[in-house]
Structures are given as C-alpha cells and as structure tokens.
Subunit: 638 residues, 2 copies
C-alpha cells in the first residue's frame, strides 16, 4: 500500500494507523495533531487500508489550530459538567480565535471561570484521548436522553458519531487531537449570552469563550497581544471615553456623544484651517439632487449599488439621490462663472457629508461607515500645474501626519488597460506624481495598472499602533481625473484666448473626519493630544475644604478656554482612577499644601505627579500645546 | 327702480347709466373706475333696467386697481401697435403689481421701452374711452384675421366681446375704466420672454411688464418702494454678492458659493459659541435611520407628508428615513445613561441638518427650503426648572438679536382643545412662559389655543427692513414638550430616588442658519457687519507703482486673520464701484501720498474717505469689530 506524504511515496502495510506512520517516519509526534487522508480530515488513530495521500497538521497550521481548539471546547464542556452537573449542553465549536461552548442552566459566580479553568487543567493532565464511535440515531437518543439540545440536533443527523474523553461524551463529527495532554495552556476569556441557534425566540444559553495553546509561552504572547489590541480597539476606546455610540436602528451611522463631538469638531477645524492656509475656497453643497443630475455625472451608471434613492413619502414619482460624492456639485460651481487661466489652480473644498451603502456585515465602528464627512476638495488645473499642485497636497499630508504622529505608507497607482485620455497625458500625469514623491525622497509602493480609468493616483495609508501597514487604514488620496471635466464640458479660457479642458484633482487629506478619528483613537489608545482631549484638565480637591480653591482654579482655566472640570465625588483614589480611564491629560490635585503655597500639584497621564507647580506656568504650557496642536505635552518635558 | 348703494336705497328711472348715477349722487367721478351691479363687474356706461345693488370701486380698491391696470395693458398694446405695426398680439392681463402684454415678433432696442411709454402717455392724454361691443365669433374672426393668437383664443369662446380704444381693438371680456385720461402715471418696468400659453413647445412671446397710477405721486412712491424691496430681496443680494446659487436639479437646497460659505460658517460659529457659553453639549447624530425608529417617534404617523424615504438603489427592501428633526436622536442620547436630577437641566445641542419635503412652488431662496441646518437643542428639565431654563433661552435670543441689530416680535401660543398632559401641568408651563416674558417687560402677542398638542410655545419673529412684522420671518422658537419623553419612556432619578419623567424643551435660537442668513441679507441689504463680510478689506493701489506697498499691507492684514485682497485690475473708479457692489466694508486706497507718509486712505461703505490713516490704528479698530462682532463699524465712529 502506497502513501504519499510531503511529496514522497512510502510503502506501508494495510491497516497501519496514522500514529504508526508518524512513529515509523520519525515525525514529531508531540506536534502533529490531525491528518487529512485523501483530503478528508481524520483522527490520528485512523487505520489506513488503501493507497492514499496523507497530510499532517500541527498547531502552526490553521487546520491544526481549529482542531486543537475544538478539542479544547470538549475539555471545557467536560470540566463544566464535572462542576455543574445539571447543566445542559449546547454546541462548542472552534472560532477564529479559540473556541466557545454554550450551556443552558449554567449559573456562574465571580470565581466560576477560574474554577472551570482549573478543572480543565486537571483533566488535561490526565492525558485522555478523544475516542470516536459511530452509532445509530436511536442509540444516540438514548445516550443523550437528558440533553434536550443534543436531542434536537439528532433530529437533523442521519449517521451520528460520538467522542468520548474520560467520563465525557459529546455528539461530534470530529476529528480531534490525540490527547488532552497536548493542551498545556488554557485561558477562559469571557462569558456572554447567546440565543440557541441564534434565534431570538429560543433559549438564552451561557456562552463561555476560551483560548488554548500547546505551550504557556504561546498563551502569554497571545494575551499580551490581545491586551494591546483591546487597548487600541477604537470601538472599545470610544465606549470607554463616551465618544460615540451605535444603534441597530441606524447601522453604519455613528452618534457622536458630547465628548466625541468635541474631538470631531476639533479635527474638522484643524482640517479647515489647513485648507484656508493652502488657498482653498470652502463651499457647502446639497445632500439631495434629482436623479437626472447623477445620470449626467455617470454615478447612477457606475456607482449605483452604493447609492441611496430618496423620494418624498407621498410623492413617489419625484426621485432624488442622497449624494455619494461631492464632485459634480463642485463642477457646477466651477462652471457657474467663466474661468480663465488666471483662476487656476482653482481649489474648491468642502466638508461634504456623503452616504454610501455598504453591507451591514462589513461595517466597523468609525472605520467603515455608511456616512463620511470628507475632508474633500477638487482642484482644477492646467496640465503643467499638476506637479506643483500635487506637491502642495503632499505638503498638507505631511503636516497632518506630523501633527498626529502618524507614519504614512505611500502608493502610486498607474494607468490601467482600460482608460480614457491620451498616452501623452498619462505620461505627463504619472511622471508628475512620481516626481512629487521622488523629489522628496518619499518611498512608495508602485501599483502598476491600479489607477482609475480616469487617471493615476497617490493613496496614503497610516501604519497601525504596532507600526504595521494596514490596508483598512487608508487615509489620504490624491486622484487625477481626465474624465469628469469632459463629461460636464468644463472649460477655461487659456492665455491663447481659446477654450481648454482643465484636469481635475480629487483630494482628501484627512480622508473622512470620522474615520480619521477612528484611526487616531486606535493609534493613541485614546491618549489624545491635549488639544483634542474632551476634558483637558480635571481638578481634584482632596476634600470639600478645598472646593473654593478648586473653583477658583476652574474659573481661571475656563477663562482661558481650557476645557476643565472639577470632580469631587467619591475618594481621591477613585477619582484618579476615573480620570485615568478617561485618559484626561492632566489632573490638578489641590489640598492643604497647595492652598497654603498657592500652588497646584499636577498628575500626568504617565502617573507621575509634579508638586509645587505655579498655576500661571502650567496654564501657559497647556495653552501653548493647545494652540500649537502639539502631539507631545510640553509640560514637565522641557 | 330702486338702487341700493353703500347701504342706502335710491330711486332712479329705468335706463339710467352708472355714470349718471354718479353725477346725480355727486360721487367723485374722477376717482370711480368701475362698478359691480348685483355682484357683476361692469363698465360705468352700462344702463340699468331693474332694481339692483350697486358698488363703486376706485384705485384704492383691489378690484379698481386690477381694472385700471388691465386698461393700461390695452393702452400698452395700442402704443406698441402704433410703433411696431407687424407685431402680433397675445394677451394682456393685470397682475398683482401692474400688468403685462405679450407680443409676438416684437424686436425692441435699448430705447424701445421709453418710446412705447411716451406713446402711451400721448394716447392717454387723448381721453379715449373703452367701448364695449358684443359680436359673433365669425365677425370676431374676420376682425382679427391677421392676429393668429387671437384667432386661436376665439376657438375657445362662444360669445366674444371686443373693446375699442381709439384705433385699437382688442378681444376682451372687460370691463374697463371710463377714460385713458385717468392713467396719469406709467412706467414700463422690464421685458422678458414667455411661452405662448406657458407651453415650452409653443412660440416665445415678448412680454412687457408695466405699472400705472392715477397720479405721478403714487408712481414715485411705488418706484421708491420697489427699489427698496429689490435692495432687500435676499435672492438678489445673494446673486449680487455671489453668496449662493440654486439649480433646478436640486430644488430647495441651495449651493453656498465660497463667499456665502464664509458668512454661513461665521453664523454657525457664533451660534456654537453661544451654546457653549450657555452650557450646551453639542452632539452629532445620523442623517438616516430605519423607518422603525420614526414609527416609535411618531413622525411617520404625524409628519409623513414632509418626510423623505431613503432606500439603497439595489436593496429596496431596506427602508430608511432622511431625518426631518433631531429630537428622537437626542432622546436616545439622554437615555444612553442613567440620569439623575443632578444632571438636569441636561442640554443637548446640534447643528443638525434636516430635510423636509415642501412643494416646489412654495420654495423661496434661503427663506423657505427643503434643507435646514438648525440651531437646534433639546433640554431635559424637571417641572420646576421650566421658567429658569426658558429665561436663559430668552437671554440667548436677546444676545442674538442685539448682535444682528434685529427687532423681535414675540408670540405666546397656549393650550389647544386637543392636547396631552394634565391641566395642572399646562397651567404651570404656560405661566412659566408668561412669567419669563413679563418679568422682562417683553410685549407679546397671545395666541390662545395655538400651542402644539404636546405643549405651549414662544415663537419669535424678526421685523423686516422696514420695521414691519412679517410672519415668513419666524426665527426663534422655544417649545415645551410633555409628549416625546412619555413616548420614549424617558426617566430620571429624582431626589426622592424614584423615577420621574422630564419635560423636554425644543429650542432653536437662530432658527436655521441658512434662513437666518436670508433674513440678515434682506434686513442689511447685503451690508453685513465686518465680522461676517466675506471680504473685509479690499486694497486698491492707484496704479501699478504702488503694488509693493499694497502687497505689504495685504500681508499685514492676512497675518492678523483679516480677510483682505488686492484689486488692481481696471480703473480706480471701476474698482471702487465693484467694491461698492460687493458691499465690502472698507477700501484701502494707496497712492503716492500714502506711500510717502507711510499711511493709508480708507473709503467707508458710506462713501466717505478718511485720509492719513495709521495702518496699526485701522487694523486695531477692524480687529476689535471682528472680535466683538460689532454690528456698527467703530472706525471713524469713535
């Protein structure tokens, strides 16, 4: 009998088990978890009776991991059943990260997870196998007569199999790992409620999530990474800091709470100032326009699946579109007057709020929404102005990334096979964009053929908190467009007194304000620079005796436009913890010493406390950071 | 035969004419234009043959005016036919202000209107009558055989009448005034194109608009008033100052051009600052939410005809609503945490952009739109906080009206017959609102029974440029609402540790930003206070020799955030006129003298020029006005 393993062919006798093969070939039996025989996943004690292709999997393979975690789920259920006898079993699959098991009737106290985890370790150490048995539906029903959820599952299975691990039996297709002893590191992560079969009319199960590894070391690394990820999860940060909320009644369109609106508006003001500095003319254009307008623009032809139709409820024959982009309006504005070469580059900017239909499953907090307030602009240029204008845009990108301490990854996308515009124009445009990047010594990814049909573009991505390139973090874009000006018959009068078609540059420096805020919350883990912090200073009087002094300090801050407040509820320790949770840049602590000396104590976000601080000096430092929009606080760093 | 005239009954012989009656009763024959006999409007030479009720009308009656203007339209057509023999006649009715007549084949030069006007005066002086004759359709068709439009009209008339005035005959139902000599003042106002029968597939007629009066004096008053109205027409001002534009492709949703967006954003910033000063928490809520949300809120039941349905083009089964109001979102935010009496009043503000479907015919520039960015807020209060909170809102109203030099008209609307809430609560709420107004000595209109079913309200209107109360100028509103908190089950924990339902106050201080801008453009005739002016200073170098000096001045202004620019095209005179047209607050004129002395000359909007001005002093004064948002310029007023 011939077995093909890792490209080689070996001779084995019929009836050999996979475990025996592993032993014979001196493969690492402590690492191999499961195998595929002719593409079918099986337990390692499976006997082979004819020629076959064999593949082995360890924990470093995705398949091995899933089997490992599924076996861990059995171990979890075993442990729960040992402790909570009357619990009914649901199901327990592996998931992307770890596994869960659903239980019915499980009442668990604060120590419950720890107790279960301990039991799992205890059982794992017994080196138990996962023994498969194929049985009839009747036998299975008898066996699971006290498990109503298993009985329900059995109604849909024609040839059930069960797995035994010590005293535990589960209805399961398998396969499993050879022994519980391979599960050397376990962490039960959390409990949540879940409807049986995901049906909101059915029983609410108690779902326990866990993760497991072949070694303690791997678990440690995982937990550390998990903590980092949670710290940088913009949705968790947003919740912790009360910045925004979502509702099922309005998917993909966040509600910015008071503190979130402060951050949002600060970002918007910053972008607006930058636009003014760079000679942009801000405009405000409508949200809805008749469908005809979007036929002319071509959006209804090319972009319909992302667009929303708008009709008056009681005048359905009138059809409008909720704008997915601002460009056609800006073209209308450019065309509203006769423009000459002296008007170019003509820069129109708008914090236009656009809506785009995205599938509900793809939505992700502020990072992927159905509403975007873009940091949008359209610049009309002549061919020979492309390079200088794009260079100015890259200046803006640099300013923004520096301000927020972000690392950029640049990508240049060039002509695709299907395109409009002459090769000469594409040559000119592409080399202009290349020049802009190369003259500054900016490294970039070249994405050949990845440009839009209407022109080449530069996309800018932000590296994530760990310095990783993350394609979901696209922030800025600079796109040349040869098409729309033609489509709308846009002209300007050149030096030669003849009509010319300008080139249009679509540009979004901060992308969309909401998404940029999401990126920032993630990268900073909520430790926003002081100019963005909703509360910039919290004043903590040590006791009520110092509330007058605290009030005077508050008044001084408020008079200077510093967003400060007093917290005098609960113990000092709790108030400090609350301020830490909210990532408030400074705590000003005042007690007897401070009142006596007429000074303040300042506790930094780092945990360090600076005593005997002069109020004026502190205010000056804070105001400087706010005005200059410094990313790093200058107080006590000077 | 008995005639009842002005309540008295007179005896007359059968066959007497109305003119004879006027003579006999010594009524003012120079003023009476036309009469109604038993409710039917007739010429004064009409004979009476039986008992009747008779009413006479002069130019001071709406009916008299219309007949006067209709007769003037005949005079216009007569004059045109005298000068342009080959022209074909359309129709010539009286309108709300004056009259028009449509002509086909009329080519008119610059002096044309004047020539026609002169001819009208000449014909009017001949004291011609308007003689009625009833004829058959065949006779009429013969008579108008060369007038194709009249022939077309005759196809729809069974018993035609004609009126002869001198050599002019028109097909007309009448009646008319006794003599052309009564038309003593005539002004032809403008020419426009108009489709025959308003049908875009038919001939384009030349329509001449005019107005006429029984005296020169009345015409003078009218023309003066017309000029004032045009000066204060916010749509004309918006066009002249390039502030906004409208498009048929997006009815009711204005496009704010660069200069308009500056004004708009300044107004918005002002409102935002005021909200912050008064303790409001700004939030940002979605534009679209699922229909279910609007069912819960009750809007789909009560407000549907003003609402827009939103559906993804390619997922029609998903139904959303484009928000017509922000309130339900703010309730969601209030409800997102447990609130206690310590949190009240809880003030949520939003510059929420809402859409409301209004019929196209009712739209009016910025004053009546389909999109509103409201200066919106919702305040949650306990019953005993109503008065103080509303008082604070009236403070805000006062600040706003003072800032913009507007006169307010207050109206208090009280309980309607159908309402929710106990009489006790209504008593409390109404007397709170009354107290707020009366304690300040504010006069108000009492609109009994005009409150909403959910609570009483104070509406504030702005007087127009002439100090007239104009109900289309509603600007601010303060509305108590007992209903929505119940509907959404909103609660707060009281001092008694029990749950209570708060009262909600809807409030919009500046109404909507766009509409407020419209009111302001109208009231100021575009002469905006300097902090709102898109261009605050224009620098006019007398010749190119002084452009360096001008550039230095510009740099100084720009460095201080003053919106300035240099205009160096064309003659000084033309540039001054251009700056006047744009209502730019200051022109800084620089020439030899200014350069020599290191000073500037400043020309004010009034036309006055101040010489030897120190640049620093001027800047200081301008900056002061900008910072303090002064309505009246302090420069040269000190």
């Amino acid at each position: 009998m011939k077995l093909r393993i890792s490209g080689k062919v070996y001779d084995f006798e019929q009836g050999v088990t996979l475990n025996e093969v592993i032993k014979k070939l001196k493969l690492d039996s402590s690492a191999i978890l499961v195998a595929k025989v002719n593409g079918v996943l099986v337990d390692l004690y499976t006997k082979l009776n004819s020629d076959a292709d064999v593949e082995f999997f360890t924990f470093s393979d995705e398949i091995g991991k899933k089997v490992f975690w599924h076996s861990s789920a059995h171990l979890l259920a075993y442990a729960v059943k040992e402790i909570y006898k009357d619990v009914q079993l649901g199901i327990g699959p592996a998931i992307d990260e770890g596994f869960y098991y659903d239980f019915y009737g499980l009442k668990i106290d604060d120590n419950g997870l720890k107790k279960i985890e301990d039991k799992m370790y205890e059982l794992a150490a017994k080196s138990l196998g996962f023994d498969r048995q194929e049985i009839s539906v009747e036998e299975a029903k008898k066996m699971f007569s006290s498990e109503k959820f298993k009985l329900e599952l059995l109604d849909e299975i024609s040839s059930p199999s069960i797995y035994k691990t010590g005293a535990f039996v589960d209805l399961c297709k398998g396969p499993h790992i050879p022994s519980t002893s391979m599960i050397r590191a376990i962490k039960l992560l959390r409990i949540s409620g879940a409807y049986w079969k995901g049906d909101s009319k059915r029983e609410v199960m108690t779902r326990i999530y866990g993760i497991s590894f072949p070694s303690k070391k791997e678990l440690e690394v995982y937990l550390k990474d998990l903590r980092e990820r949670e710290k940088h999860d913009h949705k968790l940060v947003g919740k912790e800091l009360d910045l925004f909320m979502m509702s099922d009644l309005m998917p993909g369109t966040p509600i910015f709470l008071p503190d979130g609106a402060i951050v949002y508006n600060q970002l918007l003001n910053f972008a607006r100032e930058l636009d003014v500095q760079h000679g942009y003319h801000e405009v405000i254009t409508p949200f809805i326009a008749k469908s005809l307008f979007w036929e002319i623009s071509g959006h209804l032809e090319k972009y319909k699946k992302n667009m929303f139709r708008v009709t008056p409820f009681e005048k359905e024959e009138e059809e409008y579109v909720l704008k997915p982009m601002n460009c056609p309006f800006h073209i209308l504005i450019f065309k509203s007057e006769t423009r000459s070469y002296k008007d170019l580059p003509y820069r129109i900017s708008e914090f236009g709020i656009v809506h785009r239909y995205e599938l509900e499953g793809t939505l992700d907090g502020l990072l992927r929404t159905r509403v975007l307030q873009q940091n949008d602009a359209h610049v009309f240029v002549s061919e020979d102005q492309i390079e200088e204008e794009c260079s100015d845009m890259i200046d803006m990108v640099s300013t923004v990334y520096k301000t927020f301490n972000l690392q950029a990854v640049f990508a240049l996308a060039t002509r695709p096979p299907e395109r409009i515009g002459s090769d000469e124009l594409w040559d000119k445009a592409e080399s202009a964009l290349k020049n802009v990047l190369e003259k500054r010594g900016i490294e970039y990814k070249l994405k050949e053929g990845d440009g839009a049909f209407y022109g080449p573009k530069i996309d800018v991505y932000v590296k994530d908190y760990a310095g990783r390139f993350d394609p979901t973090y696209a922030a800025s874009t600079i796109q040349l467009d040869f098409n729309l000006p033609l489509r709308f018959d846009v002209k300007y009068i050149g030096k030669d007194n003849a009509e010319h078609t300008p080139i249009m540059i679509h540009r979004a420096i901060m992308g969309s304000i909401g998404r940029f805020m999401g990126i920032l919350l993630s990268n900073t883990a909520g430790e926003l620079p002081i100019w963005l912090a909703p509360t910039q200073v919290v004043i903590l009087p040590i006791s009520d005796k110092y509330s007058d002094y605290a009030a005077r300090i508050l008044k001084s801050f408020a008079g200077k436009g510093i967003r400060a407040k007093i917290d005098s509820n609960s113990t000092l320790e709790r108030r400090i913890r609350a301020a830490q949770m909210k990532k408030i840049p400074y705590m000003v602590i005042v007690g007897e010493k401070e009142v006596e000396k007429g000074k303040i104590s300042v506790r930094l976000r780092s945990g360090e406390t600076v005593h005997d601080v002069d109020m004026k000096e502190f205010e000056t430092s804070v105001l400087k950071d706010i005005e200059e929009r410094n990313f790093t606080a200058s107080f006590h760093n000077q």
